[in-house]
């Protein structure tokens, strides 16, 4: 599998604070990868770095064979990186349709955009019903679907999702994870997502990375990670046997 996204030895600082410490990470084409870690471990920073919202001090970011280390967010979105921001962040006073169009901002092929808009309405019937409703009036689950659809409107190769299940009821969490798998399988879009609940994350991801204080401390296939005693202790609540 070729690497779609590759971070190589990336260092990021917030002022004097070393937020990412020489991290190397890859996402293959059509792969689902999960990013695990506790609070302030650097998960969101990694996401922002990939999207070009934060400057890297050293190291490189490659996407689809191109060096995008210093590229603008706009350029990266055009190249095929889409984002489902933390806490969804739909535009609350814009309609559902306007939100979807915002996702297609970097595109200029009118026919293709109209086609994709139709597709999103087929894919998410709830959004079709509420196309003229302001996004702020949608329920949490609906907003999450809108955030997915909005990301897909840029025809991405990779979607970065920052805690897509945050603040959702357990039943909706399953729906969201199912949707991630469906997007991945049907559209072949690679997904890199941050998730607090390791077991859930690893149930749909093929691989995972574990961050702690800005450093990748563990990586491996989902199976390996699920059976790793450190992971079990830290995330899965199973006490290690003495």
């Amino acid at each position: 599998m070729t690497d779609l996204l590759a971070l190589d030895d990336v260092n990021v600082y917030y002022g004097p604070f070393h937020a990412l410490r020489g991290n190397t990470l890859t996402v293959g084409e059509g792969e689902i990868v999960s990013l695990l870690g506790g609070n302030a471990s650097g998960k969101s920073t990694t996401m922002k770095t990939i999207l070009g919202l934060i400057k890297v001090k050293s190291g490189t970011v490659h996407f689809a064979g191109e060096d995008v280390t210093h590229a603008s967010t706009r350029h990266r979105v055009k190249a095929g990186i889409a984002s489902v921001p933390e806490a969804r962040r739909v535009f609350p006073q814009m309609t559902v349709d306007e939100n979807l169009m915002a996702g297609a901002y970097t595109r200029s092929d009118r026919a293709g955009i109209a086609e994709d808009l139709e597709r999103m309405r087929d894919r998410f019937p709830r959004l079709a019903e509420r196309r003229r409703q302001e996004a702020g009036t949608l329920s949490g689950g609906e907003q999450q679907m809108l955030a997915f659809a909005r990301a897909l409107m840029s025809r991405p190769k990779l979607i970065c999702m920052d805690e897509p299940t945050m603040g959702l009821a357990p039943k909706l969490v399953d729906q969201v994870l199912d949707e991630i798998v469906r997007i991945n399988k049907e559209l072949g879009v690679a997904v890199l997502f941050v998730e607090q609940q390791a077991e859930l994350a690893l149930s749909i991801a093929s691989r995972g990375y574990v961050l702690a204080t800005g450093e990748i401390v563990l990586k491996g296939t989902s199976n390996e990670l699920l059976h790793n005693p450190q992971i079990q202790e830290a995330y899965l609540g199973k006490a290690t046997q003495a």
Partner: protein
Amino acid sequence: MLNTLIDGLLRGNVYALGAVGISLVFGVMNVVNFAQFSFFGLGAMLAWFFVAQEGLPFWLALPLVLVICGALGLVINISVVRPLAKFLPLAAMLSTYAVSQILDNVSQISFGAQFRVFPQVLPTSNFHIGNMRFGTSDVVMLSITAVVMVVMSLFLKYGKIGKAIRATAQDQEAALQMGIPVGLVQHVSFVIASSLGGLAGVFIALYIGVANPTSGLDIGLTAFVAATLGGLGSLVGGVIGGFVLGILEAFGIYFFGDTSREIIVFVILIVVLIVRPGGLMGKVPLISTEPLTGTFLGKGRPLRMPRWVWPAAFVVGGVVIPLVASDYVLTTGTQVLIYAIIAAGFTVTAGQSGVLALGQAGPIAIGAYTSALVTMNLHFSFWAALPVAGLSAAIIASVLASPIWGVKGHYISIATLGLGVAIVAIIQLLEPQGIYNIPVPQWFGTVLSTPIAYYLIDFGVLVITLLVMWRIRRSHLGRVISAVGSDEVAALASGVRGRNYKALAFAISAFFAGVGGSLLAHQYTYIDPTMFTMLMSLLVVTIVIMGGVSLPYGAVVGSIILIGAMELLRFTPELRIIAYGLVLILVVRFRPGGILVRNS
């Protein structure tokens, strides 16, 4: 009556255009743009220049003015506002104030400071319907505004950039993540806002018939109030706020006379903010995004001062300067010291409680008038009048400010700004003439009216002020006020009622403002309401920001730089304010936490 309504509509027209510009920029940049004020004056002067001087037809002059203002707006945004807005909305706001000072003065130098008669390009009273009189000029102005508003709303609703502007205003971070070029969106918004400001300026010239470079400030303030009334960031709100204010103002003047104008405007502002803290159309601002309150807190550390600095500063300021300095230097020194007293007292409000009050001229004026009146009418000595002035400033300002402490975010600053202007307007109503022959200080029969005597009195008061401020900061009370300033919600969760402590901090600051006002009154021996302008309020704010907003001794440094160094430029009065603006921009650019605060 109907004529008053038309008058109100025409005023509202101008305010609405200005308010939409202010709201637009606020929406996409989260910056209160004082530079917008200057475009009113600039638009009027440019129109005068093209029409009256160059003899261009009005229809050619109008688009020219819009293009020039738009281009100037772009330059301002690229060079000053955007680089600062990225990391500090408050610094950006102050820099827009500096820019507006520079623009006004460049305009004064280019076009002259006098009022210019604007030629009557269109008939102004050729229609008579019943008792109503109006002209083509009025119809044209209102129609242009209507067209502009319709085009704007279509652009925002359907245009690609228009939609991007709305998306950016609602969630800048998310907009960035969608690949929306937020920088471009901000530039476009700034250009539109500046052009609208220029258009409003042309309308002012058409409506009043005279143009002046500084006519922008008054109208700008009102447009700003209109934007706040509507809800900062809401364009519909800006239009509604503009017309509501224009009509209420016209009727207010009709019933109460022109001197009540400012009082009416700011009473409306304060009432609306209390009833609807987010403005008529806006939402209550989120507590997490309060860029005007506490932006400077926690940023950077104060430079560590070696211990010898304090006695050294005391000896230099209290002994060396009085011994060697000329009368001229000492007179400048008294100004520096008085502003240092006012600003040092202000640090507890701006720095510790996190309320960037923009109306300190109000309590300064109360102090000055109280002191003048009690010494002249009740024959108090200066020494007794001084604390009485402070107390009355603290009490009156606190009573007047008491309704505003529940207001949040930018709005509390705007409310205090309104308060300052309203206090001075009330004084103007009560004592329009000014007061002459205010007695000078005496000490057991010796008249203390020499520069050195004034200097030493002010120096003594400053030392006491700094000791009091130092003591307050170290006290339990001071720590509680700081807690409220750094995180009001957390403080509330610990059982601290934030608004009470904000009010108390404001009262302490008002006390020292009143003391400063008293010192000013007895040294000038003459006061009138025009001395206590918004510029004075903003000067106090810039002094504390210059020195480090929560450092009382920083206020001394800020005062030395802004009052003292600016005095050096007195030989060239026009360039003086431009230099002042540039200094301010440079400081906020490179030391956003203040000169004595190291960047974090």
